[in-house]
């Protein structure tokens, strides 16, 4: 009697667990596959927008003497890696040529703005830094427009 | 005399020496079936090999192989039940000196070869 009881209970959590796993895979797998190449690309390059905003904030904070120069430079390096990855994703994506062209253009401008910001910070040129900050803000708005417009 | 449930009250319990120093756990129990009478606890066993055998014979072989690099001389430390002074809810106390048993081979080795060599530790 006791044995049957414990056996039933030891099987139930397992059954519940596997049900959860199956349900989860059933929900998530098609969701991942159904994405169009455009949606997929836009999702993959999402960090670009966040990095543009971070660099803009970093530039402003540098101008306000809130962050050290070394931090700004390290941030730029980390952002650079994210931009490189986005460029790579854009190049190999199967999304439509128009979205790819717009994104490719934007990412290369983002890299240029990042490089400009780095030069300004290294030279201590506040005017140049302020200019690049404005450019980054504008790029971020453009990026949001692309993301918001969707690839579909 | 009081009853003692070997699996519940003795196996896996902390072993302390006569001074109260922790010297391991009851990793195994060996019964003596000779003499025709009821089984009698002969020794308590301590050591990684004893533990490994409880998991799986193959694990025991692996641990045996690893023992090539061990500084411990005896794989199984056998403490005769006669040496057991008392079994409390907290520990099994044995009439031995931990520092002089194989249970402390590693402890001694690490103390002499590592701890003592840390600067300022003398």
């Amino acid at each position: 009697m006791q044995r049957r009881f414990s056996r039933r209970w030891s099987r139930r959590p397992l059954a519940a667990l596997s049900a959860i796993v199956v349900a989860l895979t059933a929900v998530t797998l098609p969701a991942c596959q159904k994405k169009s190449p455009e949606e997929d690309l836009l999702k993959k390059v999402e960090p670009v927008g966040s990095w543009l905003a971070s660099l803009e904030m970093t530039g402003r904070k540098w101008l306000a003497n809130s962050v050290p120069t070394s931090f700004a430079k390290n941030s730029l390096s980390a952002a650079g890696k994210a931009f490189d990855k986005a460029a790579e994703e854009t190049a190999k994506s199967e999304a439509g040529p128009e979205v790819r062209a717009r994104l490719g253009q934007l990412v290369s401008e983002a890299r240029a703005a990042g490089a400009g910001l780095r030069r300004g910070i290294e030279a201590g040129d506040r005017g140049a830094v302020a200019r690049e900050v404005g450019r980054l803000a504008q790029l971020h708005r453009r990026f949001d427009a692309i993301e918001g417009g969707g690839g579909s | 005399m009081k009853k003692l449930d070997l699996a519940r009250d003795v196996l896996d319990k902390l072993v302390v020496d006569k001074g109260g120093t922790k010297m391991g756990r009851v990793d195994g129990l060996v019964l003596d079936l000779q003499g025709g009478g009821p089984p009698r606890v002969e020794v308590i066993e301590m050591g990684f090999v004893v533990l490994a055998r409880r998991v799986h014979p193959r694990v025991e072989r692996w641990v045996e192989r690893l023992r090539r690099w061990s500084v411990r001389k005896t794989a199984r430390q056998r403490v005769p039940w006669a040496k057991v002074k008392e079994v409390t809810p907290y520990h099994v106390q044995v009439d031995l000196e931990a520092l002089k048993t194989p249970a402390f081979d590693w402890e001694r080795w690490l103390r002499d070869h590592f701890v003592a060599k840390v600067p300022g530790e003398d």
Binding site: P13, A16, L17, I20, V21, L24, T25, T28, K43, K44, E46, P47, G49, S50, W51, A53, S54, M57, T58, K61, A64, N65, S66, V67, P68, T69, S70, F71, K73, N74, S75, A78, A82, H140, D144 | A7, L11, D12, K13, L14, V15, T21, K22, M23, G24, R25, D27, L51, R54, V55, Y90, E107, R108, L110, R111, F114, V115, A116, V118, E121
Partner: protein, 406 residues
């Protein structure tokens, strides 16, 4: 009254186990992505962790045994060996993460590359453990840990909209990106319910010689200590929601989180962030390294105790030495701290049932705990924790992969 000095143990456990590298990452991500919407996850996790920590303290005070000790004794080695190994692996990942946190904090201040810091940080952390007694660690870490209150001050300085903050305590479904939402929710709970926390706290109670008279004080210490960690995590979400979310900054990298406090404290904000991160992670690294040494020593019945001279417990001291040095390797070889954090948190969530189940059974053992065994309130919460733990185990790893990578 003197017993309340033990609050240090609660705060240390909280600084190390609650508001650590993992909580910093999840708070920043939660606030940056979903503003106040995930505050409830911290609240739920806090409630669960307060109960579990209280239980582990009560257990140690009444039985004079720490958890790994009691689990091996009561369930036997063959039961304990698998959870023990799985847990050690997960705890090791957490230790690597915390070392990464200290390194990153130093990287923020000095500008030098993070991997360069790995070995010096491991050696200095080790030296601190080697030299100090348990109460030194307890008091210094809990005192230094107060610097993380900067997050709370910052949260108030931002004047967040009160009704939105309150709404965040009511669970709600996300407007967009549900996968990310749930991935962050799971990692918040995973980051808070760290299994080693209970081993550490109960071993600490044994180190501090708690007895049955501490049962009442323990309740307060658990609630205040964990409450402290919780308030800081909540503040972290609020600050990220106010400083990062409106700008569209998500946290894909710790460099982005480092800007969090600069709005509230224009001059000191950056340094405060780095110092908070460094201290929280140092506290956590000490705690995790000790937790690993405790559970190993207790499993095999070695002499253990941070109050002993290393000569008296050479094996115990050797374990935390070796573990600290090994844990420095991932950062030394350039693994990204954030990726390591996410992996460690997923693994913590996955191993939770292994810890929770034997723990709850022990808490109901009247022979061991007499009248201090769990009542129905504690058991209800424990039952919920077990359920949550099972779900977490099933979803944590897939969610971390999907929600993190898209």
């Amino acid at each position: 009254m003197k017993k309340w000095l033990q609050l240090g143990l609660g705060i240390l456990t909280a600084v190390g186990g609650f508001f650590d590298m993992g909580a910093m990452a999840t708070s920043a991500q939660a606030g940056a992505n979903f503003r106040f919407q995930l505050l409830w996850a911290v609240a739920v996790a806090t409630l669960m962790v307060v109960f579990l920590v209280e239980m582990s303290g009560r257990f140690a005070a009444v039985s004079n045994k720490a958890l790994p000790d009691a689990i091996r004794e009561h369930f036997g080695f063959t039961f304990w060996v698998v959870p023990f190994l799985v847990l050690s692996l997960s705890t090791f990942l957490v230790l690597a993460t915390e070392i990464g946190g200290i390194c990153f904090a130093l990287h923020l201040v000095t500008g030098l590359p993070t991997p360069l810091m790995a070995l010096p940080v491991a050696v200095l952390t080790w030296l601190f453990l080697w030299r100090s007694t348990f109460s030194t660690i307890e008091n210094s870490t809990s005192l230094l840990g107060l610097i993380t209150l900067a997050f709370v001050v910052a949260a108030f300085r931002h004047h967040p909209p009160a009704h939105e903050v309150l709404q965040g305590f009511v669970p709600s479904l996300p407007g967009e990106d549900p996968l990310k939402y749930w991935a962050i929710a799971v990692s918040i709970v995973g980051a808070v319910l760290s299994p080693y926390l209970f081993y550490f706290y109960s071993s600490g109670a044994v180190e501090d010689h708690w007895d049955e008279s501490y049962v009442g004080v323990n309740r307060g210490i658990a609630a205040i200590g964990m409450g402290f960690g919780s308030v800081i995590s909540l503040a972290g979400i609020v600050v990220a929601a106010m400083a990062l979310a409106p700008r569209g900054i998500q946290v894909d990298d710790y460099h982005q989180a480092a800007l969090m406090l600069t709005d509230a404290f224009p001059f000191w904000g950056f340094l405060l962030f780095a110092v908070s991160m460094g201290i929280a992670c140092l506290g956590a690294a000490l705690e995790v390294a000790l937790a690993m040494a405790y559970s190993l020593a207790q499993t095999f019945g070695w002499n253990w105790g941070e109050n002993l001279d290393p000569r008296e417990d050479a094996r115990f001291s050797t374990v935390y030495t070796v573990v600290l040095l090994l844990a420095a390797l991932p950062i030394l070889f350039g693994v990204d701290p954030l990726k390591l954090t996410i992996l460690a948190m997923a693994s913590e969530a996955a191993v939770l049932p292994f810890v929770a189940l034997p723990f709850v059974l022990l808490m109901n053992d009247r022979k061991l705990l007499k009248e201090h065994a769990n009542g129905w309130i504690s058991n209800t919460v424990a039952g919920i924790v077990l359920l949550v733990a099972l779900v977490l185990t099933a979803v944590s790893i897939p969610l971390a992969l999907l929600g993190g990578g898209g």
